[in-house]
């Protein structure tokens, strides 16, 4: 389909710039995009008949990564070596 209506995963790298320019960056637009992303994730991994641990696992892993990045400046002080 046309570039403006394609989801992010179907956009090629070269067209990424133009695709971002067509996006709606108002608060409603961002909220709508976040909601759509969450709904598609739920529909794919959680609202199924026979789901597995994968749906929640990925959320937990994402939470771990996010909290690690937020605490990185503090964790940097516990490095074993000074020069890498």
């Amino acid at each position: 389909g046309p570039l403006a209506q394609r989801p992010l995963l179907e956009v090629r790298l070269g067209e990424l710039h133009t695709w971002i320019s067509t996006r709606d960056f108002s608060p409603q637009g961002l909220l709508g995009a976040a909601q759509k992303a969450w709904n598609s994730y739920c529909a794919k991994y959680i609202n199924v008949r026979r789901g597995g641990p994968a749906g929640i696992n990925m959320l937990l892993a994402g939470y771990c990564l996010l909290s690690y990045t937020w605490n990185y400046q503090h964790l940097r002080r516990h490095r074993w070596r000074k020069y890498h």
Partner: protein, 248 residues
């Protein structure tokens, strides 16, 4: 009072709102979609490898790097993070490793049972909903059957009316005959009365005549004739007795 009501109503002013216009400020049924029936849930979720990485990532790298590409990428990234100490090894690493081991063991061991239990709960819910729907459909079917039966019964109304007409005719006939009987009885009673009256009159006349004749006859017998008749009777008796003595 009733006959004047229509005239009084016509005399009222017309209502301020135009009757028959649907008061709606929004469009109804703008889309073709309807909320029911919902499409069923998909059977299985998206494919995930090792419980963490979606299959699409492996498929994305397959054309360029083959099967081992993502694994090499993962190993390289882990070694890079460890050697540059972007990921710092501390007490939390050990704790995280222990927790991960426990979680993996629990999922591998109890995953099937929990899934079966959840499936059973789901099945019960679905069965209940289906039972309700089936019952509703069954009751509606029964209602349709009953309605059809009633419609079939209506066809027999001519017989019903014939039977009723027969009943009414019989009642009328019975009543007519009863009254006929009553008339006959009454007329007979009156005629019998007349006949009895005539008989009585004749009987009385006869008795009276007989009495009168007897009385006049008795009166006509003078004392002289009485003595002569008694003497004659005595003579006859004597003659008879002589004749009787003779035969004996």
């Amino acid at each position: 009072l009733l006959s004047s009501a229509p005239a009084a109503l016509r005399a009222l002013p017309p209502p301020p709102v135009a009757v028959g216009v649907l008061h709606a400020t929004r469009q109804l049924h703008t889309t073709q979609q309807s909320l029911a029936p919902l499409p069923p849930l998909p059977e299985k979720g998206g494919e995930v490898r090792h419980g963490l990485i979606p299959e699409e990532f492996f498929q994305f790298l397959y054309p360029k790097t083959g099967v081992t590409g993502p694994y090499m990428l993962g190993t390289g990234l882990i070694l890079y993070f460890l050697s540059k100490e972007i990921y710092v090894v501390n007490h939390e690493t050990v704790a995280g490793a222990c927790i991960l081991a426990v979680i993996i063991y629990a999922v591998k061991r109890f995953g099937g049972d929990v899934a079966a239990f959840a499936d059973k709960l789901n099945e019960e819910k679905m069965a209940k909903a289906l039972a309700v729907k089936n019952e509703a459909m069954q009751s509606l079917q029964d209602a349709i059957e009953a309605e059809k039966k009633e419609q079939w019964r209506v066809e027999g109304r001519s017989y019903l009316f014939d039977a009723k007409r027969n009943n009414v005719a019989m009642l009328l006939e019975t009543n007519y005959r009863e009254r006929l009987m009553m008339v006959y009885n009454e007329v007979k009673k009156r005629l019998d009365y007349q006949v009895a009256m005539q008989n009585l009159k004749r009987q009385k006349e006869q008795e009276h005549m007989i009495d009168w004749v007897e009385k006049s006859v008795v009166q006509s017998i003078t004392p002289q004739q009485q003595k002569e008749s008694i003497a004659k009777c005595i003579l006859d008796l004597k003659a008879l007795s002589k004749g009787a003595h003779a035969t004996v």
